[in-house]
């Protein structure tokens, strides 16, 4: 009995040590990536290529998701607010929800699923096929040529995608609220303009999405670079990217919201 209990504790200790060791390795990796980002000024073409692959190719899912999220929110808000005769506030409610929370969070979750997992798989496969080793032996630093451009592209793309998500979401809400439900267009826009604050809502939302961009891109490139170079290791790494990124996004969203929106 005592032995079994001790074994459990030992197992728990081993998992904790492994997790902290990995976290430490991840932080050192991040420092190395940040130190390698300067090379992008020498070869901007690498960054531009990744911006297309990471950012532009994620655009469709972001636009479609943003449109439907905005439309659904407008419907739900309308049904809740119409009982109080406050249906004219649908626009502002949707805009604030999108700019403060849903824009950055849903974009980051979608980004982790679409681009994050692709980044991990791509870097992991390069590791498994010895392409990274090959670059090292050609005296080319893969941190500068492979990891840094992908990391920076993720960080730059995220706030842009989140902004597009929110803008398309507001447009989707406009279609439902004004065109379908017949609310007044002037009230929709003027209330939104009146209640949405540039610093409090828009800037804070952008700050959130930048933080999410750093975290998702970091996790994605680290998992790819650190994965076991086997098909099983690669599968586990892509899964970890999506799971860890999603949890980190939701946790950080709570922390940032608590810091940003205190009264």
């Amino acid at each position: 009995m005592l032995n079994r209990l001790l074994n459990k504790f030992q197992h728990l200790g081993a998992i904790t040590l492994h997790s902290f060791r990995r976290l430490g390795r991840g932080f050192l990796f991040l420092l190395e990536v940040l130190a390698s980002c300067g090379s992008m000024f020498v070869r901007p073409s690498l960054l531009i290529k990744q911006l297309y692959s990471v950012g532009v190719q994620t655009l469709i899912i972001i636009v479609v998701a943003g449109l439907f999220v905005g439309m659904v929110m407008a419907l739900q808000s309308y049904y809740a607010l119409v009982d109080f005769g406050a249906e004219d506030s649908v626009g502002v409610m949707v805009a604030l929800s999108l700019l403060r929370e849903l824009g950055p969070v849903v974009t980051a979750l979608l980004f982790a699923g679409r681009a994050g997992s692709a980044l991990t798989a791509e870097i992991g496969l390069m590791k498994a096929t010895e392409q990274l080793s090959g670059m090292e032996m050609m005296a080319v630093n893969p941190m500068q040529r492979i990891v840094a451009p992908r990391f920076l592209a993720g960080v730059i793309s995220m706030p842009l995608l989140a902004t597009i998500f929110s803008a398309v979401g507001v447009f989707g809400a406009y279609i439902v609220a004004v065109e379908l439900l017949g609310l007044d267009s002037g009230a929709f826009w003027s209330q939104s303009q009146d209640k949405v604050d540039l610093y409090m809502d828009i800037y804070n939302g952008i700050i959130k999405s930048i933080v999410f961009g750093i975290v998702v891109a970091w996790i994605a490139v680290f998992e790819g670079y650190d994965c076991m170079p086997t098909s099983e290791g690669l599968g586990q790494a892509t899964t970890r990217t999506v799971v860890h990124s999603s949890l980190a996004i939701l946790f950080l969203d709570f922390v940032l919201t608590a810091l940003m929106f205190t009264k």
């Binding site: 390069m126 096929t129 010895e130 392409q131 080793s133 090959g134 670059m135 090292e136 032996m137 050609m138 005296a139 080319v140 630093n141």
Partner: protein
């Protein structure tokens, strides 16, 4: 200039609890083909990675062209690697670049040559491996043997002082094998450099080697010219060179007597 290009002394290296090298020492001459042979899992590829500075030994020294690889800064190590070529078992071609761009890659990274000069050099290197006509193909369109030849063209792009070949003959059909054997031998003679072949393919490797080291259990267990090894009195070397199924390396993995296993005891 010393005739010895690579000097390894008292090398110890472990992976987890497993000792890969346990006091390995060997010298590799500046010119000619040196083969490093041994059974699977003896750390032949690990040795190449240690020479290239991709791994750090637990103990001992590795000197390449008079430089202690472990003591070099990152910049110095990269400067040394520019004078090394390495052919990976898989080829390790960059899959998003064409054959031409793969060979041009080290030239673009490390030289300021203009485009016409790069084109000239790349086509010459590809011609040397017989794949000038495949310049526009992508790596996915190449066979295994062709991939290795392209990787070989890339490895010689910067005219290195040495080339390391990691299992160049594994999984090749007889024609590809013949092509690779001839290429390695001819390139070594033409460029007058040091070639290190890591392989367990005995006949083909011995046919082009000037010197051979056989490693096992973390140490050198046999060395000399191919002829000397063929006539070696060492039972171990004899078993490896002639591919005997039983000998110092037993056919059976250590186990209890079979009757005990079949009927219990």
């Amino acid at each position: 200039m010393s005739d010895i290009l690579i000097k390894i002394r008292d090398l110890h290296f472990s992976r987890g609890d497993r000792k890969v090298f346990d006091g390995l020492s060997l010298d590799i001459p500046r010119r000619g083909v040196t083969a490093i042979m041994g059974p699977s899992g003896t750390g032949k590829t690990t040795l190449l990675k240690l020479i290239g500075g991709q791994l750090k030994p637990d103990q001992g020294t590795i000197e390449v062209d008079g430089l202690d690889v472990q003591q070099l800064s990152t910049n110095e190590l990269f400067a040394l690697r520019r004078r090394m070529g390495m052919l990976f078992q898989s080829g390790a071609l960059l899959t998003d670049l064409s054959v031409f761009e793969n060979v041009a890659y080290p030239l673009r990274e490390h030289t300021r040559l203009n485009e016409s000069m790069i084109r000239y050099l790349v086509l010459l290197k590809l011609n040397a491996v017989g794949l000038r006509g495949a310049a526009d193909l992508m790596p996915a369109e190449l066979s295994g043997g062709m991939s290795r030849r392209v990787a070989l063209a890339r490895a010689i792009a910067l005219d290195p002082m040495m080339i390391m070949y990691d299992e160049p003959f594994t999984g090749q059909d007889p024609i590809s094998m013949g092509v690779l054997v001839a290429l390695i031998s001819e390139l070594n003679s033409a460029l007058d450099i040091c070639s290190i072949i890591v392989s367990h393919d005995v006949p083909d490797t011995l046919s082009i080697s000037d010197q051979v080291y056989i490693i096992s259990t973390g140490k050198v267990v046999g060395s000399g010219s191919p002829d000397e090894l063929k006539d070696s009195k060492s039972e171990w070397t004899h078993q490896f060179i002639h591919g005997d199924s039983d000998g110092p390396v037993p056919f059976h993995y250590p186990a209890r007597p079979i009757l005990n296993d079949l009927y219990g005891s």
